[in-house]
Amino acid sequence: MISALSQRFGKLSIKRKLQGIIMLTVTAALVLVCAVVFLSFRIGTRNSMRSELDLLVRMIGQNSTAALSFNDRDAASELLQGLQTQPAVVMGILYSADGAVFAHYSRAEMEGVSPHLAGGYRTAFEPERLLAYHPIEFNGQVLGSVYVESDLEELHLRMIRATEVSLALLVCAGIFAFFLGTRLQRFISEPVVHLVQTAKAVTLLKNYGIRARKQTSDELGALIDGFNEMLAEIQDRDHELRTHRETLEDEVSQRIAELRSVNRELIDAKNRAEEGSRAKSEFLANMSHEIRTPMNGILGMTELALETDLTSEQTEYLSTVKSSADALLTIINDILDFSKIEAGKLDLELIAFELHECVGETIRLLSLRSAQKGVALRYEIHPDVPPKVVGDPIRLRQVLINLVGNAIKFTEQGSVLLNISLQALEGESALLEFAVHDTGMGIPYEKQKSIFEAFSQADGSMTRRFGGTGLGLTISSRLVAMMGGRISVESHPGEGSCFRFTVRVTPTDEPVVQKIEAHPVHDTNRARASHRSSNVLLAEDNPVNQRLVLRILERQGHRVTLAVNGREAVEAVKRAEFDIILMDVQMPQMTGYEATEAIRSCERQSGRHIPIVAMTAHAMKGDREKCLASGMDSYISKPVSAKDLLETLETLSLTA
């Protein structure tokens, strides 16, 4: 109850609270005062009534002495009739000394009511009456007694009047206090309300420059002072913050500008670096081209020379030239591959191919060399191994050629075995393991760790004795890593070695689309056996290459038309019919790509399709894609070997 009241009180405004407090206090004080005044008035009234009655009775006593003394009832009655002037008195009785009624007076309506003598002489308030009963003594003698009784009408009336007056006073004083309190409470509530309004305004307008007005120098004044000081403090802080923020913004924009300029510099540096890298790649490609073109001549001419009638001495010399040139080509290819891998320029292809075919061809290619050495070469493919996979067949073959070739190279007698098995099938991909066992000389234990690092053939003498750059294993190791596998070696000197590597491929059922091999490896004899005469257009600007290719083809009975640049080639195609076109890529006036595109656009009207084979020393990545994109059907890389060239011609003329 009290807590509910105080809760309601707590919700009131300070103005109402002050009014409430004032009214409550005033009312309480007034009620208290009225009660005290009323009580004292009542007591005073009763006392005065009593003493009046007392006096009246005494006077009657005094005045009745003679009547009593001389037994004059008439006089006594007359005396008592005087009580009529006292309206409150209801009865008066004089008793003689012997207790008999001497004289009697009573108000009309009180006739027959008996007096209350029991209780003796007294002046007392009794319920509903005030009475006085006293003896009459005169000169030491009791003459009789007098009894007077009055009702309390008068008292009641007076009390009612007093109550009315009290209430009226209470109301008047309350109203007066209300108005006075309403006016006076402003001294306290107004500064507080003003403070609240100021605080609201500050919050609403976010203006910390607003100040509360100080009206008094009491605690409220101190409160307003404190509030204003706080506002000033906030304003200062605000100002500081704003200044700080502005400085910060300046700093930030300055930093951003700096960053931008640094960024520009970085972009410039990056562009310059990329430019440099491109130039380097370009340089490598050019070098490759520049080196291969003369190599082409050397190799082709040597082959041609070897087929003429020679003395045994000449044959031996030329054979040495050929093998040296082969070795040199291998070394150049290795170095180019290695530098491409190191530069991160080597990207793997992802094409579907027949694993059996790829491995079988590689083995067939190498079986020639093993047969020459008298080393048995076998391969086994576990039946679990998926027949068709997606991967890079060219790079896989490169690793196989390297490892199996090495095995053959370092095995004097015995056998080389290639074992292919499925090591793991993880979701979409399969991990294939290739193991190359040989019965060769083995690798010393201390060399086994560093064997895959660049330029670290087991012994410096190895290079001298067996040739090679020693980059083969390093390149293989990098290629295997790129194909998601690992390479390792296990070897006991004198007993043989086992090189294992794994490759991650994706088994597939897709048909193998790329039928034409970049490096067709077929038995030259078989190609020769199925040979037929074709009409060939050769577009080649280099005279050495012209002569080389011309001789190779004419020896096979093909008719060759020569064009020295792209434009001549296009014109030749317009003039005559050809079974096949051999197109050098880099030619003056019109490149091989442009010529191919021109020929293909002509063919779109005629509906014909002449197979075009690119001849390029651009052994760089993207060459093959460029060739195919410009409309060529295949390509062979320079230096052109008779074997490759004839094989390609054979394949294309068959499919054409």
Partner: protein, 157 residues
């Protein structure tokens, strides 16, 4: 007779009670209050009976009986018996100049210069007062006494 006896008993008591309502001049004797009877005493021993043991303001009562008025001048209250009817004027003249309250039941007492005259009214003893006579004798009669009198003849002043 018993009625007469009763009448004089009341009159005796009245004589005694009058003392309470009268104020005598200061020069009158104050040691005792003397009630004198002139002429044939009708009270017998009643007066003595009434005042026995009584006193007013510490003054005891003294009852005396006199033959002539000259003897009774020192009394405070003098009752003149009906036996003195024929010589009333003489008796009253004899008391003139004294401070005695003269009381009698002789008819026409007050008209003859007496102060209080007993009368029988409705078989009750009442009295008439001649205030003029009392004032001449420098007696102050209480208003209460005057109130209970049948009749008061006012002083002529």
């Amino acid at each position: 007779m018993s009625e007469t006896a009763n009448e004089y008993e009341v009159k005796a008591a009245f004589l005694y009670k009058f003392a309470s309502f009268v104020e005598w001049p200061p020069d009158s004797p104050s040691s005792t209050l003397c009630i004198g009877v002139i002429g044939q005493d009708p009270f017998g021993s009643m007066l003595e009976g009434v005042v026995r043991g009584k006193s007013i303001n510490g003054r005891n009562f003294l009852i005396r009986r006199y033959k002539s008025a000259q003897d009774a001048v020192a009394c405070h209250i003098v009752f003149i018996s009906s036996s003195e009817r024929s010589r009333l004027r003489t008796v009253l003249d004899g008391l003139r100049g004294s401070a005695a309250l003269t009381v009698s039941d002789i008819p026409g007492f007050c008209e003859n210069g007496g102060m209080i005259d007993f009368e029988i009214l409705e078989q009750k003893v009442r009295f008439v007062i001649n205030q003029e006579a009392a004032e001449q004798a420098h007696l102050k009669l209480s208003s209460k006494l005057l109130n209970v009198a049948i009749y008061v003849s006012q002083g002529t002043k």
